[in-house]
Subunit: 418 residues, 2 copies
């Protein structure tokens, strides 16, 4: 363990660039299987098939209005001074097919969504007519096709309308349902184990002892896993004990695709995780040029991805957003592996950067000023300060080559995931 002894003494000698670390890690990812589930329960799942339309939508010409189906030519020349009249010969309701054929001078009462009767080529809105028994008076002409939704207007049969890797939202569920789909192929949710490591950690609900703190990382990371589409297998607090860590790693390797540790990953004397991962797998990266979050370790153990995140909650949170979350979604072959929304704003005041060469994460609150969005940096007293997250809306990423930001600079804020 010469390497670790040296690390403990000198800290991180070499930091990897974030994009390099991710590229290497993602080259190791295995394939997650698909499953068929009910469309109605597919919210937030990742589509695992391309969707090709199996029918036209609408499946027939239908009325877009409540009114009368007519021959457009019967309305030509109609005006307030020169109204035209047609005779109602029947009614077609939504969901019905009628055999009646409209001839010149005739009309059929029709509901929105009902099939257009044969012979008709336009629908006049009920508001634009007067009716006296069966005699209908119109005051304006209609172009052929007016108020008719043509067969295939929305969707034509045989085209691709959704691609693999789409995250399914209510609008996608509506579209699948409108094509008659009851089930859909999605990625199985990757299984994830979460462990917080540290003798200083007390479980919530207990009383706090001197020198100890409550464990907040397990619940935070577990809920981020849920939010990003993973399935939590276990979320535990572990002591700084090599054997306990090793045993739990073994268990997690058996039933999880991703294993997340927080704490014990830096170069303190009790930071046992680098040692455990070295002994039970391959360390891909230890130390990334980002602040906060630099002590992160990424490893592979029995083909499972192991992340060891710093124990300070904000660093762990940011490591999740930038590394764990995108990996989880990459595993599901998501098109969009970083689901955070980007918002444009201008920065309120100068922000010098003290650590060039690092990707710096600036937490900001967004204020709307007239038509502008202003990014207001949240005052920080340490990277562990959780209130810096609850009091801000998102993060500006300051690339390693920048010395900082100047007041008024246009910036992109990546909002916290919702």
């Amino acid at each position: 363990m010469k390497l670790l002894e040296r690390l403990r003494k000198v800290g991180f000698s070499k930091l990897t660039l974030l994009e390099d670390a991710l590229a290497e890690l993602h080259s190791y990812l295995t394939v997650i299987d698909n499953e068929d589930i009910e469309v109605s329960t597919s919210l937030n799942r990742i589509l695992a098939e391309d969707i090709i339309t199996n029918m036209d939508l609408p499946p027939f010409d239908r009325s877009a209005m409540d009114g009368y189906a007519v021959k457009a030519e019967d309305t030509f020349g109609a005006s307030q001074n020169n109204p035209k009249q047609v005779i109602k010969i029947g009614t077609v309701e939504i969901g019905e097919i009628i055999e009646l054929i409209i001839e010149k001078g005739q009309a059929i009462r029709i509901s929105t969504g009902a099939p257009i009767p044969k012979g008709a080529d336009a629908v006049v809105k009920i508001e634009d007519t007067e009716i006296d028994n069966e005699l209908i008076t119109l005051y304006a002409p209609l172009a052929p096709g007016k108020n008719i939704s043509k067969k295939g207007e929305d969707i034509v049969k045989g085209i691709q309308i959704m691609i693999k890797g789409t995250e399914l939202k209510p609008e996608h569920i509506a579209l699948l349902s409108s094509l008659g789909r009851k089930t859909v192929k999605v990625k199985i949710k990757p299984k994830v184990s979460v462990f917080s490591v540290g003798d200083e950690l007390i479980e919530t609900g207990n009383s706090l002892e001197p020198g100890k703190i409550f464990n907040s990382n397990t619940s935070m990371i577990s809920n981020l896993i849920t939010l990003y589409g993973g399935e939590l297998v276990r979320g535990l607090t572990l002591p700084d004990n090599k054997e306990t860590i090793k045993n739990n790693l073994d268990k997690a390797i058996n039933d999880s695709q991703i294993i997340v540790f927080t704490g014990g990953t830096s170069v303190g004397t009790k930071d046992l995780l680098p040692e455990v991962i070295h002994e039970n797998g391959t360390v891909l990266t230890h130390g990334i040029a980002m602040r906060p979050g630099s002590p992160i370790l990424i490893g592979i153990s029995n083909e499972k991805v192991v992340f060891c995140l710093p124990g300070t909650p904000v660093a762990a949170y940011i490591c999740f957003l930038k590394i764990v979350g995108p990996t989880l979604r990459k595993l599901m072959k998501c098109i969009n592996i970083d689901p955070r929304v980007e918002v444009k704003a201008s920065i309120e005041h100068d922000i010098p950067v003290s650590s060039m060469g690092f990707l710096n994460f600036l937490r900001v609150k967004i204020e709307k000023k007239e038509d502008d969005f202003i990014a207001i940096p949240v005052k920080l007293k340490g990277s562990g300060v959780i209130t810096s997250l609850t009091q801000s809306d998102g993060i500006i990423e300051i690339t390693p080559n920048l010395e900082g930001l100047k007041k008024g600079d246009n910036v992109i804020i990546k909002l916290f995931p919702k």
Copy 2:
């Protein structure tokens, strides 16, 4: 039923403004009870208590680095040419309390997060030292307080850090956990029944008959209810039959706070919902000046809110975003009743508005062009076109007094809810 007969003939004579309809409806809302749940399972729930801190965070002065706790004065004047030396007298690990007190010329090895030993007022990073047995050499001076997270630095006891109505996200869960909270008071999820009404509707998974369409509204609205924090009690398809509608309304009134119908709400001959709601409660609004979505009906029946949305999926979707969803969240006393994210962009080309006096909803796709976001209107062929939702990112709301948008205008896009 004179009113309805007239409506069926003339359509909507008077449309209400959206804000007026919402204000009236929200004055009728009842109170939803609270419940205590585990913090770890509170993701996306609505906080029902103000959170006052019960402790300082960190609860003690602690080290922000792995290194040596020292007296800062022992480092004053240190430089490469004039190094200073201190003697290591012990080690303090994270989670431990030690009794040792640091005197002048002494140091204690300390891990990140460990309590600062008595007598020390700074921590030197391990990377900035050389150690030879117990003799530690430093090459730079430290200011008092350096690398120490002071007790209460993040949170001071007795202050309010979260307010009622906050939607709980992983960062809030972390904050609650760090205060030792195992349970939290949240709003009970409002119970919601969803019905799609129409003889033309076929359930997905069956084969399509002539003149019929698959029901896509039940699954879409049900999943929107879930996304907005409601609890779905039932999601059903009903025929155009007054008694069936009435019976299902009665059932829903018994066990739901909100009842959503889609379809059958306009002025067609089969549009039975206005009649049913008139006979079983109070119609607050029928017809709102918005496009799409104008035929919406809002009613109260036995103190429960009843929404009758248009049957065209896009109109139903937009009515949900603007009316049903915000009401659901208002019921939970959410601070932010419309959870959609706003993004600034400029519009790609002129958009004339054909229906002034209406709140118009323009579906747009966002494209990033260099530093700018461009809003590209999605080509529409009808308000029922679901692909206009799956192919766009959000909606621009064009207020009733605007004649349209001019190319290059700054616009606010409200993204679809995620």
